[in-house]
Symmetry: D2
Subunit: 365 residues, 4 copies
């Protein structure tokens, strides 16, 4: 799991967030960002966003050039098996497309790397996924005749984290790659989220490489096509969020809530009666945000801070108190089991022609 | 783990919080609460608070009558082995005192009940503690001659949670107690916290009984001296907190932060420069809270809500959005291991004369 | 897991073994045993044996009266997913038949009891099965309207073992049953095998009740229709074997091996050349056993001991040396996962009309 | 865990067994084996054997040249905490001596490699030990000033097994070593035993290098001073045994048992009465083995086979039947926890001056 270097610095692992942050900060329209192309589509009731970043765009949004695909998969959160399967199928499809885009042949040898720490559940997405990924490379080497057509050679490793091994994670991976010589790498990692909504929901797939974060200190070494000479795809899912994000998001929700009530009902905002809201999931939209004057009435000076200023303020308050906790939902154990299952199924189906959307279950325990 | 029935209702599992809430709400001095006696002391750099609640006080603060001991044990959070040991010793001492107060003889038979769900790490405090508790009762029955003096008969069970067993947890416990006939019960459970600061830090020990919460629905059946005819001691540690609490606490911290800056430095509150705070853990105190006018300037209408109103507002906003997450620190796995170890050591030393502060390690794996 | 009280006493948990032992010892034909009826059939390449024991037969073979169904399910051992599914279907079918035979209605409430010790992998069959069993009873009580037709009310508990809880296991179960009042009980337990061949292969299903073994000492209390007033079905699988059994079985195999070689090839038995056996699984049959004279030549006095005498001799030799190990195959972890999955699937399909052979996977994680 | 390539081939991982096998087979006296020096001593009631093998001896006993130290540590088997601590101290002492012998300085950087498969408990000795080993190397690199004197730089990795990663284990290790550049390696692995008595009891320590076994196929690549250019120490403990060994050992015990009875009591061997043996652990000695004539009377032709012939015969019988199980004691989970703890404590104390026999507990959880 990558730890944000600095809470004041506006960093995010998700390209879609980086792009949105840039749009908000610069007050631009999406179409105006040079070198960043965004598309969206919906399939099977699942939303998918594509962000293409070139060298020019890379500097604007501070993300490496490449393709970033974001799948909004709420099946895990909702404990809905059917939606999890649909998301796995979609992940497989998008992963296949990205493999093709990177000119990876159907018989190319892959190395799956499960980043993160086995002993820290919300950071164990990588290792837990590796447990369920089909490994075939040894069969190709040792028992060639027994391997059916429709499978490719795949190996899988869990390099651990520096706090546990004592070794820079990227060194371990580089060492293994030099000996094993795969044609491409897929790295799976848990991410930190900059939004309550994305936890255990957003799957980001990209070909822009990854920096395995070190738990101690902050030196990173990149895994990417530039450093390794082979395509490096990364699959990441936000599993933790910090108290700054929770508070900052909530303050926004409060403002929109008041704005919406004001607009909808002409009802004074201070009416706190439980009767005041409808059950069933409500949605708050950008247009619910009230104007500057009302924001000041509701939340004073804080109500008119930009997102960046608000986060900086909260971090400034919480960090010295030791209260900027990095947290994960209480149900983390079950979420991680389901999400790693989903991702492993997606990878298995994408990598092996013979594994497809109808025989998922047979290939993973 | 007990789930709060209602976010609007001001409930807490901790007597010290209930008392503080009453004091704040009624704007009283502590000494004036009839039927509630509070004391505090510090031993080995660990703070311990005692709250004695009688029938009269019980109605005021909405906690059952009894003795509540709160130990502030930050050794787990800080990963400080020495402080963990000191806290275990203190827990043993306070538990022994409470056993004596309840007239439990040194050869009385005890049943330790580990409440909570094995499969949900932050809810597994009970089961994880049971794993490390010394069980001797079968030896007394079957091999009487091999049991040394200095040990008492102790049994230990993990009844599970209703969502897993399908059976009301209190029914399972009542059934076992009827067959086993212990002289007293010690129940260990994870709690929800109403404060960021208390997570994995506060250990509450009481003789007022406990309601094993059911995960599904909200029917509870009490475990207490009244229902069982034998003393029921409870040991609880907050391991989760909800987004309402995180935001509400943070808003308070922001107000005090501004108040302190205003007072200390004559520096305008809007100065957000990172240089504005000192490294090392800061503390904010009640007197840092600015006056109503400044609170309004900083945080508008929200700045002048009472704690109860503020929590109700945030719950009203977050709950319909599905964002009132119950969360736990990312490091939950390690925290639970250490905390269950600490509590088991405390119980073992309190229950058996021959287990003491100098031979902890030998008795728990 | 039940521990045999005495290695000299010829005890077994499997009715089919008890019957065979009686047949061998008394030198009778199967048809001649009064009160014991044996049948066999094969379905889907899986062999199933039925033993019906009445009061009269009970005394002869030292097993309680009732129906015993033995399924020979080698899919787990062979890691063959398809054969595991077939066996689960068969288990479901036989379990349904036994429920009917015991006049258990399709809406009767069941309690599944997972006997054994979580912390001892080969003894964890019960607890591991419980993890995968569908629990519905709380839904019937609390959310009646949400429960679909086609499901019955089922609860599930893991009472632990006396060495861990300190309480007689049957006391815990009796206590829970008195509070929960199920209409029938299904107990799942790991057994000791008296044969190398049966480990992780034989599933015994019966309605004759069970004695949850205590790890310490040897006092047992029965779970049966007589003691509980409701039908008690038991599902058991041998997961461990002792060194006495391994050696005794091997000595028999050696004798038959020599006998077969002698007969088949006229080849002298002492030819130990590796060329002497064919690859692919060989089978040795009863008729391969050579006559007394040859047995004496091959294995001296030991070659002519009865099975009972041979086991007694080996136990007499190994036990005082501390070498009569109870062992389990090295691959125990994987075996237990697969076998508990198989059994949970069988139970789920048998108990709920809506769960059937085509939607197994969806109902168990 | 290394799998013996061939049951007919007389292979063993333990030098002491290899030496004994050679002595038996060639019917020589120990002193006569050129190039093999054997010593023994006892400390704290623990027996330690030293075998020094040079190039000449290496060919005779089929073990690589080097020093082999065997510690007979029965504390784990007996669940005796005190004896486990004593064994850990002894292991630390012998490991320190071997480090010195290999001219490894007290500030040399070490890499601990935990061989074996996490998911197969009896093969998880390496990974379980790594969990408890002190890792300091990242602290030396990143926070030099916080590292106290008295510690050295240590890293630790668990490369997995080929059946799980798809990559030859030695390739993974070589790759990591090239990047990390340690001064020496310590590899920890579970072994197969050729004797019932040695399971979970014998700890072998050597500087002769190791071949990480591949689970699939049988190609091995060595880890040794020759291949890596740095000293490679190996710590191995037998955790599994096959049915051939159990039966072969038991047949020997039967012969000695008869021999002893014959000699001691003039009592006919066929007396199988339970009264015939004394409780408390008996020992059988080499001199209890009866002469050839009596061996023939007791066990026929099999009674006069050499150890090698006997094992070959049993393997010939069991293997084609699929019954030459590799087994582990039922209590494997607890044994592995204790043994990995013992070894990690030994390693920690040997590698860091500041960790010693009196503060073990503080350094391992």
């Amino acid at each position: 799991m990558k730890k944000e270097a600095d809470n004041f610095q506006v960093r995010t692992d998700l390209a879609i967030e980086a792009k949105n942050m840039y749009v908000e900060k610069e007050n631009k329209k999406e179409e105006e960002i040079k070198g960043v192309i965004t598309k969206e589509r919906t399939e099977n009731d699942i939303r998918i966003a594509y962000v293409e970043i070139d060298a020019e765009g890379s500097e604007l949004v501070a993300k490496k050039p490449g393709t970033y695909v974001t799948i909004y998969a709420d099946g895990v959160k909702r404990q809905d098996t059917k939606r999890q399967e649909d998301a796995a199928k979609l992940l497989a499809k998008e992963l296949e497309a990205l493999l093709k885009k990177n000119k990876i042949e159907s018989d190319a040898t892959g190395l799956i790397v499960g980043l993160g720490n086995w002993n820290v559940t919300p950071d164990a997405l990588g290792p837990m996924t590796i447990e369920k990924v089909m490994v075939t490379s040894h069969l190709f080497k040792l028992e060639y005749e027994t391997v059916h057509d429709g499978y490719r050679s795949v190996a899988a490793v869990t390099p651990g984290v520096m706090g546990v091994t004592g070794i820079e994670t990227s060194n371990i991976i580089h060492g293994i790659i030099e000996k094993f010589n795969p044609d491409f790498v897929i790295a799976v990692d848990a991410l930190a989220s900059r939004s309550i909504e994305r936890i255990n929901e957003t799957i980001q797939l990209s070909d822009a490489g990854i920096h395995p974060g070190s738990g101690v200190g902050n030196k990173r070494k990149e895994l990417s096509k530039e450093t390794l000479g082979i395509p490096v795809l990364a699959i990441g899912v936000p599993t933790v969020v910090d108290a700054v994000t929770i508070t900052s998001d909530t303050i926004d929700f409060i403002l929109k809530h008041f704005g919406k009530e004001w607009r909808d009902k002409g009802r004074p905002a201070q009416a706190l009666a439980p009767g005041g809201f409808s059950f069933g999931r409500k949605k708050l939209a950008e247009e619910d945000m009230p104007d500057a004057e009302k924001r000041n009435a509701f939340l004073g000076m804080v109500g008119n801070l930009s997102d960046e200023e608000k986060r900086a303020l909260i971090a400034e308050v919480l960090t010295p108190l030791g209260h900027n906790l990095m947290v994960t939902p209480k149900e983390v154990d079950g979420f991680m089991i389901d999400m790693s299952h989903l991702i492993a199924n997606g990878i298995n189906a994408a990598l092996h022609e013979n594994v497809n959307i109808d025989n998922f279950a047979s290939y993973s325990r």
